[in-house]
Each structure stands twice: as C-alpha cells, then as structure tokens.
C-alpha cells in the first residue's frame, strides 16, 4: 500500500509511543507533503492527538512517555539531542483540541507568539494581530473589544482565537487538533476556507471527526485505529476507493 508522496516535509518513520506501559502508537510510518492539507481521522482514542503532538514534541511535557522511531522535518530528526525544542515549536504551530486561551486580553493572546519571538514594535504587533484575527475569521466579532479578557469569548470564538494565536507566529507547519469541533457551520466553513488559503504557504495537518470536512479540504488522509495507521492515501482515494474493510466501515458510518 506504499504510495508516493511528492515534496515531503514531514516523515514519520516507524514511530511507536508508550504512555508508561501502554503502547498508544504502533509503528506508524507516513509522509506529509509540503503545502498540502493532511488529515487524520479515526475513532476516538485511536491516537490521532498523540501523533499530532509528537510532531512538535508536546509529548515531552508528559511524564513517563517513551518514543521509538523517528520524525523528520526537512530531513532532520526532531528527536535528535541537539534540537532546540522551542525553535521547533516556533516552526510547528499547534491548535489544541480544547480551546486554551490565556487569561489575558484578546490582543495579548494573539501577539503572544510574536512577543516570544521578540517583536516589540506596537504597530507591527497591531498589524500582526489584525491579520491573524482576520484569517481566523474572528476579526469582525472582536475588532471593537480587543482588550477584553479572552475568557469572556464563547467557546467557538475562543477556538478561533487559538487558531489566530497559532498562525500569528507564521509557522511552517500548522497542527490542528479538531479545530472545528466547537464551531457552528458558518465559522467552520470560514476556518476551512482559511485552511485552504493557508496551504498556499504552509503545511497543514489536521485531526478531524468530520468526514465531510476531511473530504472537502484535505489532500491526503490517514485513517487510524487502536494506535495503528490503517490506511494512508490521497483523500479522494480513501473516500471513494478504500482499500481496507475497516476504513470503508468507518467512512460509511458502520463503525465508531
């Protein structure tokens, strides 16, 4: 079932991950194409989040995690000892499954990343903030109240704020863990448009439970089950011509 992925930027090679003794990811190998959207689907608890968190080494923060195998970005092993994790995370942005805005103003949330990068100029920061909020389809909602606390926003707005926060960093790769699970259809379609727009310059990896969404926007899709990558292929292939029985069952709704 090997397929050829052009223009590879991320290579996951034989990756296994253990939470203590439980093996959450089992020998996963896949490649992510540059400037494309790659989506991960699969039933709850199959390890999609775990995998996506491996790509910017968020799992480092969890105690008792053991990782085997390799992940390469631009050909460099990101788990090599000389890698600066903060530099990696500046290149690989992430939006989490649950919205986690900082208890600060909306403005401060969005420009947190640039601030960390050392941008101090107020007008530059303002521009960055406006651009990011517009791309995340939040600008119209909040342009009058940039200085209210982000926690006062609705759940969906908070999630879009987290997206804006991640793209304000201008990362090369954006990881999104179910970014639309709390959004209404309008906001969802705005975010989808944004992702399609984003992929012109960035590589997007997205976890989703929404089959239509994966079919609509992604170029490649991986289907996971119980920590295993069952199938990885061009999206249209997966949805029209799945090779595995499990994939077909899942997509057609007979499973999960």
């Amino acid at each position: 079932m090997e397929i050829l992925i052009p223009d590879q930027i991320v290579n996951v090679i034989n990756l296994s991950l253990y939470y203590g003794k439980t093996k959450a990811l089992k020998e996963i190998t896949l490649d992510v194409s540059k400037s494309k959207i790659t989506s991960f689907i699969g039933p709850s608890g199959c390890g999609k989040s775990t995998l996506i968190r491996c790509i910017n080494r968020m799992n480092d923060l969890i105690e008792d995690v053991k990782i085997e195998g390799e992940i390469k970005i631009d050909g460099c092993d990101i788990y090599a000892p000389d890698v600066d994790v903060t530099e990696l995370r500046k290149r690989v942005g992430m939006v989490f499954q649950k919205p986690n805005p900082f208890p600060k103003s909306i403005f401060e949330n969005v420009i947190y990343g640039p601030r960390v990068l050392g941008v101090k100029n107020k007008s530059v920061l303002k521009d960055l903030c406006e651009k990011a909020l517009k791309r995340a389809a939040l600008w119209d909602d909040v342009k009058e109240r940039l200085h209210v606390n982000a926690l006062d926003l609705s759940g969906g707005q908070q999630q879009r704020l987290c997206i804006a926060r991640a793209i304000a960093m201008e990362p090369e790769i954006v990881l999104l863990d179910e970014p639309c699970s709390a959004l209404d259809p309008i906001a969802t379609s705005k975010i989808e448009d944004m992702l399609v727009e984003l992929k012109k310059h960035y590589t997007v990896i997205i976890v989703t439970h929404n089959m239509q969404q994966a079919a609509r926007i992604s170029d490649y899709t991986g289907f996971f089950m119980l920590g295993k990558l069952m199938e990885f292929n061009v999206t249209t292939e997966i949805f029209t011509n799945p090779r595995e029985k499990a994939t077909e069952d899942y997509i057609t709704g007979r499973f999960g």
Binding site: F96, P103, V148
Partner: protein
C-alpha cells in the same frame, strides 16, 4: 426525628448558630474596644466633695459604682490629678462620707507638659511677689503665645541642634577612620578640614545653646497661681500648660471640639510622660513602616520559594519534606523567631555589617543591634509560609492546557512562567501577602528582642541623608499597648490609653488590609485586561 435530620436543616441551623456566635464575639470585642477607647478623651464633669471630716476633694469623675454587700451605698472614683501635690492621681470617695457635693462652674483643668493634670481655681498671674487677677480669656491668649515659644524651642532642640549633632557625629566617625589610616599629607589635610568644620559647628552649637537657654528663660517668666482643692496655692508656669478647660461650663459642642482636638493630638503627636500622655504617632508610623518593609521582604522570598517548589523541584522526598517544614514553620512560637532574628540577623549579619562598614563607630553597634530592618526581616520569616502556600495555590490555578498553549508557541519554561503562570497566580500571591501582613502587624513578641523600644528618639524616616534609617529602633502599637498598660509608672491613669491604642491598632490593621485588598482587585483587573 430521623426524617428531620435527613433533610439537613438542623445542620444548617447549627452552622448558622456557630457563625452567629463568632460574629457576636468579634462584634462584642470591637464594641468593647470602641466604647472604652473612644470615651477616653471626653471631658468629664468636675465635682467637689466636701467630706464630713471637713476635707475637700475635687476632680473629674472617673466612675461611680455600688459598694458590694452593703445596700444602697455608692462610691466614686475621682481623678484628682495634681500628682505633684498629692502623689496619686485617683481617689475613691464613699458617698457615706460626703457632706456636700458641688459642681463649681469655674473649676479648671490644666493639662501640663509634666506631672499630668492640675485641677483647681485660677487665682491670677504672678507679678513679682504679688498676684494680679487674670481672666480665663487672657490666660488663653498667654497660652497661645507660649505655644509659639514652645514650637520655637522644639525647633531649636530637634532640628537645629539635632542637625548639628548629626554632622558632628559623622565628623567624629570620619576622623576616627582617618586616624586609623597611615598618616600622610592627604589624610592630614582631610583631618584639618574636618577640624575646621568641627570648630565651626561647635561655635554654631554654642549659639544655639545660648538661644535655647534664653528661650527657656523666657518660658519661665510668666506663672499663674492656682488654688487647688485643699486650699493650697500652686504656681504654674504658663509654658507648662498645654490646654486649659472648664468642663463644668462646657456645652456639648465645646466638648466635641475638645474631644476632636484631643483625638487628633493622640494620633499625630509624640508621647509624653513615659507614654502615658500625648500621642502615639511614632508607634503608628513604626508599625506601618515595619509592615511595609516586611512585605517587601516576604513577597520575593515566598514567591521564589514557592515557584521553585512547585515548578522546578518536582515531586520527590526532599521537596515534600521542604513543603512540610515550610507549612510547619507557621506553628513555631513567634518568640522562637525573635530569638533566631537576634542570633542570626542582629549578631551575625548585623555584626558582620558593622565590622565591615561601620567599624569606626564600634564598639557602639550600628546594625549589630535591634532595628526596624531586623525586626521586619524576622517577621517576614515568620510569615513566609503564608505566602508560600498561597503562591503555590495560585500557581496551580494555571492549568496544564494553558501552559501547553504557551509551550506550543515556542515559549520556554521560564517565559511561560513569567508571562502566563505568574500573572494568573498574582491574585493568590497578593492574598498571601495580605494574610502575611495581617499576621505580622499583630505580632509583638519577636519584635521585643529585635528592635522595638518603649520610646524611640527619632523616626526611621527623616530628613537626614539617606532618609530611610533601617538600623534605627522603632516604636510599635502592639508593644506600646503592653508598655502603657503594664509597664508605666502610672498604670491607673494609663489604662484608658490601652483601649484607645488598641483601637488605633485595629484601625491600622483594617486600613492596611483594606488598601491591600483594593490594590489586589485593581491589579487583578489590570492583569485580566491588558497585562504584560
């Protein structure tokens, strides 16, 4: 019955009862202090008892009570004042023994700079050997005049001579240091310079001293003659009179005015007469300043400790031990901290500082003796557990997912701590600070061996460079209460002051706490909207 218990209502009632009892006790405490403390300055009526044996007693009525076991008999406690004539301030009078009681309208009370109150009738102004009658208004004017003189004297004593002494002392110390150095032309020149300065100061000092002598001379010039209750005449220099009033003639408004002026004197003036009279301003000032220094010291200490414990130390035996010890520090008797402060801060660190920087004034210690800095540091050790615990709690309020959000944006652990976690912990830290302040302001025992004194000659903050004198000893409201109430030579007269001082202490604590709470709320708002 079982059913009722099951509904839970009785428990609610029980908790409500307990709450009420606590509230009542607190309220009663405050009420007692208020009633006892606020009544002190109210001018009481002056009564003159002519006793059956012919003797006469006059004074302000302190209280009247019934004599136990004998029906319908009463006795009155009179403040007879005139301590220099009678030797005691108070006298009990059995109503049985009283032949006649009157309230002479022209009975006067004189508040003196020394010897407490004098009660009597104004006879006149002393002119040579004779006495010239004088009206109360005229005397009032004279008192005003003499107050100006008093201020002048104070100025010369405190400011002019004080400044000279201050520079003299500095010169003396520099001289000593220079003399210790090997002598060469350079040091010789400096020594000469100082000698010149010393001579100049000395002549200045003499002029001031002469001026002072003259002023005192002037102060003794005018004297009034007062007839006291037993008919004796006493002369009283006008200069000695702080206030003169005729309580039996005063209306309510006059009394209120008198009360306000007395209260103002109490909170703004320095104590007189071994702390039994005058004000308590230095004690208020010392208390507040000590609490401020304490909080400046305790916040970094506590916050950094908590940050290390919570964020960096991990969860192992040692960090758990440290945590337990820190929380148990709160249970150590405070006097133990005082002893520690004495041994460590004063003798070890203070002594070290002295031998390094102030060796010229040794063996007189500068930092090697109790002072406001050491007292504050001792208290900050005492209260650091409060801040540590509160900060740890505040740090836990920053959830894992928010921290992850920061890490995912490429922030390091320190940046995350500084930009996300600490701001979120700030309300907790401030709450801890408030609690520690509340604890510190009420602590007396450790202060008694680390720098509090009965009477501090100067405030730890004044106009002499470097303005803040952390090595100075200071006065403290808590200690003042103890001192006035139980250590003063005239306990009976001072007991009312105990309540008033307590009231001031309570008000000071309240003010400090309320301002800290307001500050916290403002900071919280600030952090929530635009912070960092």
């Amino acid at each position: 019955m079982k059913k009722i218990l099951k509904t839970g209502t009785p428990y609610i009632w029980l908790t409500a009862c307990m709450l009420t009892i606590s509230l009542l006790m607190i309220g009663g405490l405050i009420l007692l202090i208020m009633v006892k403390g606020l009544g002190v300055f109210w001018p009481h009526e002056m009564v003159r008892f002519v006793l059956k044996d012919g003797s006469v007693v006059m004074g302000e009525i302190a209280k009247t009570e019934s004599i136990p076991h004998i029906k319908d008999t009463y006795r009155t406690k009179l403040k007879i004042g005139n301590r220099d004539a009678f030797g005691l301030d108070f006298q009990w009078v059995d109503h049985e023994a009283v032949a006649r009681r009157e309230y002479p309208p022209d009975a006067l009370a004189f508040e003196r700079r020394e010897w407490g109150n004098l009660y009597g009738f104004l006879k006149g102004l002393k002119v040579g050997e004779n006495t010239k009658p004088i009206s109360e208004q005229e005397l009032e004017a004279l008192i005003k005049e003499s107050y100006a003189l008093y201020k002048k004297i104070r100025h010369v004593e405190k400011r002019a001579i004080g400044n000279i002494n201050y520079v003299m002392e500095k010169n003396r110390l520099t001289l000593r240091r220079l003399q210790a150095l090997p002598s060469n032309a350079d040091t010789q020149e400096k020594v000469n310079d100082i000698q010149v300065d010393v001579n100049r100061l000395e002549s200045l000092y003499h002029t001031q001293e002469n001026l002072l002598a003259e002023l005192y001379q002037e102060a003794r010039k005018q004297e009034v003659v007062v007839t006291i209750s037993d008919g004796r005449e006493r002369t009283l220099p006008v200069f000695q009179i702080i206030r003169m009033y005729a309580p039996n003639k005063m209306g309510v408004f006059a009394k209120v005015g008198f009360y306000i002026s007395k209260f103002w004197e109490f909170v703004s003036a320095e104590p007189r007469e071994a702390n039994t009279e005058g004000g308590i301003f230095p004690a208020i000032f010392g208390t507040v300043m000590m609490v401020f220094i304490m909080s400046i010291a305790v916040v970094p200490l506590g916050v950094l400790t908590a940050v290390y414990l919570k964020e960096y130390a991990g969860d192992n035996i040692i960090s758990r031990l440290v945590r337990i010890s820190v929380s148990n520090l709160a249970g150590v008797p405070s006097i133990v901290f005082g002893v520690f402060g004495l041994g460590f801060f004063i003798y070890f660190i203070g002594g070290g500082i002295d031998s390094l920087f102030y060796s010229e004034s040794l063996p007189t210690p500068t930092f090697g003796t109790g002072g406001i800095l050491w007292a504050s540091l001792t208290l900050s050790l005492l209260t650091v557990p409060v801040v540590v615990v509160a900060t740890e709690e505040g740090l836990s309020s920053a959830s894992k997912s928010v921290r992850e959000g920061s890490y995912a944006l490429g922030a390091t652990k320190f940046e995350t701590l500084w930009r996300v976690v600490l701001p979120q912990a700030t309300p907790g830290i401030l709450t801890g600070t408030i609690l520690s302040m509340a604890r510190a302001v009420g602590e007396v025992a450790p202060l008694m061996i680390t720098g509090v004194v009965k009477l501090a000659p100067s405030l730890p903050l004044d106009s002499h460079y470097p303005f803040v004198h952390l090595e100075r000893k200071f006065m403290h409201l808590g200690f003042h209460i103890y001192d006035v109430g139980f250590q003063s030579p005239n306990v009976e007269a001072a007991v009312p002051m105990v309540y008033t001082t307590t009231l001031v202490l309570v008000i000071t604590v309240l003010t400090l706490n309320i301002s800290a709470i307001l500050l916290r709320n403002r900071l919280r708002k600030w952090y929530n909207s635009s912070a960092m």
